[in-house]
């Protein structure tokens, strides 16, 4: 119903809009009333609000057209017509009549002569096209039973409008400043002073609002209302143009940034990312390629830090869905009670009356890969729901009868023994079988020490490419001597830390002295060399000693030949037996 009156004593918020979209959004946001102004339309056409004064279109006809087509039949709030008295051929009676016929519940003087000063303003008044005629319009509207709101800027105009019967007065402190192109030097205190001066002789029963000037946010409006006599705020460009421009700008930037992120991520050959030279890794790469070319579910197991998620992403990047990013769900972070809604979404009104609909993450898995990271941590209910999804390929929002079909590739990872979990009943057997059509197990780094050096080199290149850093022989020794319980992740962190704290471009064993130390100890032991393996292996730490020793010479040869002893011995010109003795002597096992 558009004939609702604005009568209560709450802080009023009026939305001055120029389109149905902004009107409906303002209503949903809780506005108390709407003003349809030609300025609102002009703003959304990219013009300045000030263009409302120009002869670009009949203001009154335009406002009526917007209201009839886009607002009055869609909004239940009181709607005020921004009415102009600029046409001498239109009487105020006829303007009010048109407003009533259209279905407006109120009238406001807009565009108003308040913005025009000097001799042009005097001319407007002399020609009876100015504020005097606006007062006559408001008076006529009040007589006709319309709600009335008047824009005023000074005490004299406020009293005239109040006398004319305006129920509400809005003190305008200039056009809204900021990105609108309008400048203001007014402080909130100056605004408050202007407002109080303007309203000094206005009867208390007249509702008062403020608009414009430096007030561009709700906080600004609140600040001003606390300093002076205003019981509300009218927002124009501060609710449509400014937030809309900002939002659009941010969303467009997001699209651009995302497109830039996706390209390099999936444009690089996948093999280059899962580094390692061991037979085990070669076999894993071979399995990954096979898996990538099929659509069957893959389960990747391995202890923490072995690169399970990375391998899953690489299988995705080699597969049929590589054009889209995979959807990765970290099952560790899923809270049992929230998981169903997070995964499947909810229909409008499901959570509570009036609650909005919300899409679940599975709705984003169409034509891409769903990576379930640490799937062993899913609770029983979510396991069941996921099983249904894998079986049917459909996603049904909670509380909805509609289901949408997804074409999704599933890859799961786990650092737990899912078979054992099935045996003890903590993981569904049927889900286990569906997830493990292809099983890839990644061995711990300690089980493939031949990968440590090439991995370390690759990681250093990846993190410190610009600085041209290198690993010394002594640093190789330190890295090879450690057991890496945190696997590749721990190795990466160690490389990054050493690179960040090293003095030069050559990383030496001393730079890795922190390896294996408890974190609390590390924090206070910058100079310590308390590596548990450093005690067993005579690591040379000075730069002077970085020249090739026999130990380094043998170690480098072993790396080159991937620890094949016969080949290494052949290159070094010694017998395999001698090599074994040297390895034993220098602790290169």
């Amino acid at each position: 119903m558009n004939n609702t009156q604005v009568t209560d004593d709450r802080f009023l918020f009026g939305a001055a809009v120029g389109t149905g979209m902004t009107a409906m959004a303002a209503e949903r946001g809780g506005a108390d009333f709407l003003l349809i102004l030609n300025a609102g339309r002009l703003r959304l056409q990219g013009a300045s609000s000030l263009s409302c004064y120009l002869p670009l279109r009949s203001s009154n006809d335009w406002v009526i057209e917007i209201a009839e087509k886009e607002v009055l039949n869609r909004c239940s709030l009181p709607v005020f017509m921004g009415a102009s008295v600029c046409d001498p051929s239109s009487s105020v009676d006829s303007i009010v009549g048109k407003a009533i016929d259209a279905g407006f519940s109120g009238m406001v003087n807009f565009p108003s002569a308040w913005a025009i000063d000097g001799r042009l303003r005097l001319a407007l008044e002399a020609e009876e096209l100015g504020f005097g005629r606006e007062c006559a319009l408001i008076e006529e509207a009040a007589k006709a039973g319309l709600s009335t709101l008047a824009y005023v800027t000074n005490m004299q105009d406020a009293v005239r409008m109040s006398d004319a019967g305006a129920e509400m007065l809005c003190v305008v402190v200039g056009f809204t400043a900021g990105p609108t192109g309008v400048e203001t030097s007014l402080s909130f205190e100056a605004v408050a002073e202007t407002v109080d001066d303007t309203l000094r002789q206005v009867p208390k029963h007249v509702r008062t609002l403020v608009e414009g000037g430096p007030i561009t946010t709700p906080e600004d409006a609140l600040a001003v209302s606390r300093l002076c006599r205003v019981g509300g705020y009218i927002a124009g460009s501060t609710i449509d143009r400014l937030p809309l421009e900002e939002t659009i700008e941010q969303v467009v930037k997001s699209y651009k940034v995302i497109s830039q992120l996706v390209t390099p991520e999936f444009g690089v050959p996948a093999y280059h990312k899962f580094d390692g030279q061991s037979d085990a890794i070669s076999e894993i790469r071979s399995q990954a390629e096979t898996a990538a070319h099929s659509r069957i579910p893959v389960l990747i197991t391995g202890s923490s830090g072995t690169g399970k998620t990375l391998l899953a992403q690489q299988i995705h990047s080699m597969g049929a869905f590589s054009a889209r990013n995979p959807v990765i769900i970290n099952c560790n972070s899923l809270v049992a009670e929230d998981a169903p809604e997070f995964l499947f979404g909810r229909a409008a009104g499901h959570r509570s009356r009036g609650s909005a609909a919300s899409g679940g993450v599975l709705e984003r898995t169409g034509h891409t890969t769903l990576i379930l990271d640490e799937v062993g941590n899913l609770d029983a209910v979510t396991q069941g729901m996921l099983l249904e999804f894998i079986d049917t390929g459909t996603v049904q929002r909670l509380g909805s009868s509609m289901a949408c079909q997804m074409d999704t590739r599933i890859i799961s990872t786990s650092n737990q023994n899912l078979a054992k979990m099935v045996d003890c009943g903590s993981f569904r057997q049927d889900l286990f079988y569906r997830l493990t059509a292809h099983h890839i197990a990644i061995p711990a780094l300690a089980e493939r020490t031949e990968d440590i050096v090439p991995l370390a080199e690759a990681l250093l290149l990846e993190t410190e490419k610009r600085r041209g850093m290198r690993l010394s022989n002594s640093s190789y020794t330190a890295l090879l001597a450690y057991s890496w319980p945190g696997n590749v992740r721990e190795l990466r962190n160690a490389i990054m830390r050493a690179a960040a704290t090293a003095n030069g471009k050559l990383l030496i064993a001393k730079d890795f002295a922190f390896i294996g130390q408890p974190i609390t100890k590390l924090e206070s032991a910058g100079k310590s060399t308390g590596n548990k393996l450093a005690a067993n292996i005579p690591i040379q730490t000075s730069n002077k000693d970085e020249s090739m020793s026999e130990r380094d010479w043998i170690a480098a040869a072993l790396r080159r030949h991937r620890y094949r002893k016969n080949d290494t011995a052949s290159e070094l010109g010694i017998t395999p037996r001698t090599l074994y003795n040297k390895i034993k002597k220098y602790g290169l096992n």
């Binding site: 600029c86 051929s89 913005a115 309008v182």
Partner: protein
């Protein structure tokens, strides 16, 4: 002395195909339809219709001697570029243009706020200057010596001197105003650009005077029926 006439519509054709009073050039400004001269001064802040669309629509219906018409354009229209306006005018075989409705009366805070559009006499003269570069002949309405010099600085050599807003002028003030206008015109004539100075004989100020403006190269009359 040359004669110009502000009109809101094309004059009807006579039986032999000639337009009445064809020796007088017309400043065609349909947005002024129904306005007195005093109201016409305020036209830039009267959102009654689309000034430029009305103009083009009227010109499209024009028959006969198109080059006798000067198109009065709202230069502050944010939805039409000078290039587009010039192109349309050329298509319609109209080669002269002027700035009306105009922001020459903006002063005080209005100048500052209207600059956000942007609108105002400086913007209008820049617009007219560009129209000159695009092959049109611009006529600039000016209110003061400052505005006249600004128009000349933009290379506009046809100046229409507006006497100002008519309200509150007594006889003595009119006499003083006449002298002031003559001084402005003579100052502008000093320009090496050898400008043509037209005087807008505002009917609400100079309704009876007939021969007092011989310092002008031409007179502009307001011929819109309110």
């Amino acid at each position: 002395m040359k004669k110009l006439e502000i009109v809101d519509r094309i004059a009807p054709m006579s039986k032999n195909g000639a337009q009445s009073n064809s020796q007088v050039r017309k400043i065609l400004c349909p947005i002024l339809r129904g306005l007195t001269a005093g109201q016409a001064d305020c036209a830039i802040v009267l959102p009654r219709e689309n000034a430029n669309e009305l103009l083009f629509s009227e010109l499209e219906n024009l028959n006969g001697n198109r080059d006798r018409h000067i198109a009065a354009l709202l230069c502050a229209d944010p939805f039409i570029t000078v290039e587009k306006a010039a192109s349309r005018l050329k298509e319609l075989q109209v080669n002269s243009v002027t700035n009306w409705p105009s922001g020459i009366f903006f002063e005080g805070k209005t100048i500052k706020s209207m600059a956000a559009i942007p609108a105002g006499w400086q913007q209008e003269y820049a617009w007219l200057s560009k129209s000159r570069q695009l092959g049109l002949v611009p006529y600039a309405f000016v209110l003061s010596l400052e505005q006249g010099l600004a128009a000349l600085a933009e290379g506009i050599t046809r100046i229409i001197l507006h006497p100002g807003l008519p309200h509150g002028l007594n006889f003595d003030a009119k006499v003083q105003l006449s002298r002031s206008l003559e001084n402005i015109a003579n100052s502008l004539k000093q320009s090496p650009l050898n400008p043509e100075i037209y005087f807008y004989k505002h009917p609400q100020i100079f309704s009876h005077e007939s021969n007092a403006f011989d310092w002008a190269n031409g007179i502009v009359d307001y011929s819109v029926r309110a």
